[in-house]
């Protein structure tokens, strides 16, 4: 369970191997899989899930969850879309995404933290509220064919590198530093492990949880900007499955569903594996209907293995160990 290396542990290694195996397998199964166009399409399709997944990693790590994050992204996307429609500078419209996300994240966090409602229950309720919000904002129609300003901005990026790459990289680095180099990391993990104990130790539980929700919200808002830039569209059903996909990828990546252990690299690899499988299966002629089945089975397998290992390694955990063991922040 504990990682022998600082940021790249057993789960991460397993996922990396799984990704490589998937690439190898699909390269054999489909002549159209292994080429720059297709692989960059896979990466392109991963951007929103990567950002939302990294935010969800914090939430699961602190013992929370947010099943409303997908529809909340829809609300942030509406803000971005409406600004584009109004002819606002695309840079401003793009930044409005994370800003709106931050506000929504703070709202979600407030309900969970100050309402003292279990996160899963509170965010299920908020899912309905935000969904209705989308409905009211769009009035049954949807935003289509939005101006290309933001799309061009994101596509051109910095020195020819699409903006998504530095955004995900900076997000990862910032979260890595926050978790490893500031008190936010140990506080988050202590709360995820046991809220009561963390409180007894003088950890500011509410503040840390709020911060996790706000950061997750801002990342969700950033994802909204990328969504609008990429699809130039905000549909009524936006983000319906995003939260569940993100939770699946995060858990796949080795972050504990119950909190207290996080892996940022694991989340990134988890997202890539999900997207590789979706792409490769279709290219290999498997109907898209089967994609959720495959990813679902994958998740069950990983969690099953983990449960089995957990039972086995409990004994080893109780025995004192010498030597250097890394802490559980596998970045």
């Amino acid at each position: 369970m504990r990682n022998p290396l600082d940021w790249f542990g057993r789960r991460e290694a397993l996922l990396a191997v799984a990704c490589m195996a998937a690439v190898l397998l699909f390269s054999i199964l489909s002549p159209y899989f292994f080429n720059a166009d297709n692989l960059s399409a896979v990466l392109n399709n991963s951007v929103e899930l990567l950002l939302v997944g990294l935010g969800m990693t914090l939430l699961l790590g602190v013992g929370g969850i947010d099943v409303s994050v997908g529809v909340a992204m829809g609300l942030a996307a509406i803000a971005v879309g409406r600004l584009l429609q109004a002819g606002v500078n695309p840079v401003v419209a793009g930044l409005a995404g994370p800003a709106a996300g931050l506000v929504i994240g703070a709202a979600t966090g407030s309900v969970v933290v100050f309402g003292r409602i279990p996160a899963i229950v509170a965010t299920l309720g908020l899912y309905g509220v935000y969904r209705a919000g989308i409905y009211l904002c769009l009035g049954g129609d949807w935003l289509s064919g939005l101006p290309v300003g933001l799309t061009d901005l994101v596509g051109t990026g910095i020195a020819g590198v699409p903006l998504a790459f530095p955004c995900v990289a900076i997000t990862y680095l910032a979260l890595y530093v926050a978790l490893r180099r500031t008190p936010f990391g140990p506080h988050l993990l202590a709360i995820g492990h046991s809220e009561a104990k963390a409180r007894l130790s003088g950890v500011s539980v509410n503040r840390t949880q709020m911060l996790a929700f706000i950061v997750s919200g801002a990342l969700m808002g950033l994802a909204a900007s990328f969504y609008v830039a990429t699809y130039r569209n905000v549909e009524m059903t936006i983000g319906g499955t995003l939260a569940l996909e993100a939770i699946a990828a995060v858990v796949l990546g080795g972050t504990s569903v119950t909190g207290g252990r996080v892996s940022l690299v694991g989340t990134i690899l988890g997202v890539l594996l999900l997207r590789l499988l979706q792409n490769g299966l279709l290219l290999s002629g498997v109907p898209s209907l089967w994609q959720p089945v495959v990813t679902g089975l994958l998740l069950l397998t990983v969690l099953g293995i983990e449960a089995a290992q957990g039972r086995l390694s409990l004994a080893t955990l109780l025995r004192p160990k010498g030597g250097r063991l890394a802490s559980r922040v596998a970045q």
Binding site: N44, G140, G145, T237, T241, L242, L282
Partner: protein, 329 residues
């Protein structure tokens, strides 16, 4: 806040409409239409068509409906209209199972109740004014595609939910059309995107990657149209892969203009609204529907099937870059 004021405005409008009704009860006949929800471009277009018909045919047209597609609210609105003694009420039904008692109540009050846009087949409604048949929609999209890519091509399909019966029916008729008329056309198995543009784009991208010789992609659910079009643009295949789908001019406008979509197929809700009011007048006047007829003020004939009680608007409409700006729904 915006919503509350909108709601307020609406109730005022409704009040005005109904009070107007009371004072002018002597002169014109009244036809009402209750959409699934108000304030969306699709039903706004139906309202515009209905108003045009009312002016042309000399009836009063009342347009009112729920603000949030709530079946209970819709039923209540219909009930109110019946109680107010409107001559004919048409409904775009939200919940087909609960409308039958209201039809009974309407009959008792000598109010004609019929359906438009969305039917309740076993409710006893007088007639169903239908926009297009599933078969017509399936045939039209394939015929238009063949016009552009020829009869010997490979076409991909991105649908919405695998459980949506109307989408599956359209796909079924597409496949039947190909089998009957274009045996060399290769229609790929449909991929199901659910409701998001992201997933539709992902699937469209993958279909294009898996089939380098692909000539066209059809987005079956209107929610898949933007994703499919965006995927074609992102892949740099505008012109090489013909995009299309069943989606409204508003949804497809940007993509029709960029060339990612060559055409889309749907019906014209303004015509449907016109036909609805015309049918209401016809029923009030006690005139029968003929198998084929051209209503006053319409440019093409409509058909009536006495067995099913369906009054059909006719062929679906095709929207292209040339005509899309004439439509606003």
């Amino acid at each position: 806040m915006l919503k509350t004021s909108k709601l307020l405005l609406l109730s005022v409008a409704l009040l005005a409409a109904t009070s107007g009704l009371a004072t002018a009860a002597d002169a014109k006949k009244k036809v009402a239409f209750v959409p699934q929800l108000i304030g969306i471009p699709y039903f706004d277009a139906m309202k515009a068509g209905g108003t045009a018909a009312a002016n042309k045919l000399g009836v009063d047209f009342i347009y009112t409906g729920p603000v949030d597609a709530n079946p209970v609210d819709q039923l209540q609105i219909v009930q109110n209209l019946v109680n107010q003694g409107v001559d004919a009420v048409s409904v775009s039904v939200l919940d087909a199972s609960s409308i039958a008692p209201v039809v009974e109540a309407a009959k008792a009050k000598h109010v004609i109740l019929f359906t438009s846009d969305s039917d309740a087949p076993n409710s006893g409604r007088a007639v169903y004014v239908a926009q297009a048949t599933d078969e017509g929609l399936g045939d039209m999209i394939i015929d238009e595609m063949v016009k552009r890519v020829g009869p010997d091509a490979k076409i991909g399909i991105v649908s919405g939910e695998a459980t949506a019966s109307n989408l599956n029916a359209w796909i079924g008729y597409m496949q039947a059309r190909v089998k009957d008329k274009y045996p060399k056309l290769k229609l790929l198995a449909p991929q199901f995107a659910g409701g998001t543009a992201q997933r539709a784009a992902q699937l469209a991208t993958d279909i294009m990657a898996a089939n380098p010789d692909l000539k066209g992609i059809i987005g079956v659910a209107s929610s898949t149209c933007p994703g499919v079009a965006q995927a074609i643009e992102t892949a740099g295949k505008v012109g090489k892969v013909i995009g299309t789908g069943y989606c409204s001019p508003n949804t497809a406008r940007a993509y029709l203009k960029s060339g990612a979509f060559a055409y889309t197929v749907l019906w014209d809700p303004a015509e449907l609204g016109y036909l609805t009011v015309w049918a209401g007048k016809q029923l009030i006047d006690g005139k029968p529907f003929e198998a084929t007829m051209t209503p006053e003020g319409m440019s093409h004939p409509v058909t009536y099937d006495a067995k099913t009680g369906i009054l059909l608007l006719g062929e679906p409409a095709v929207f292209t870059a040339q005509n899309v700006d004439n439509y606003h729904f």
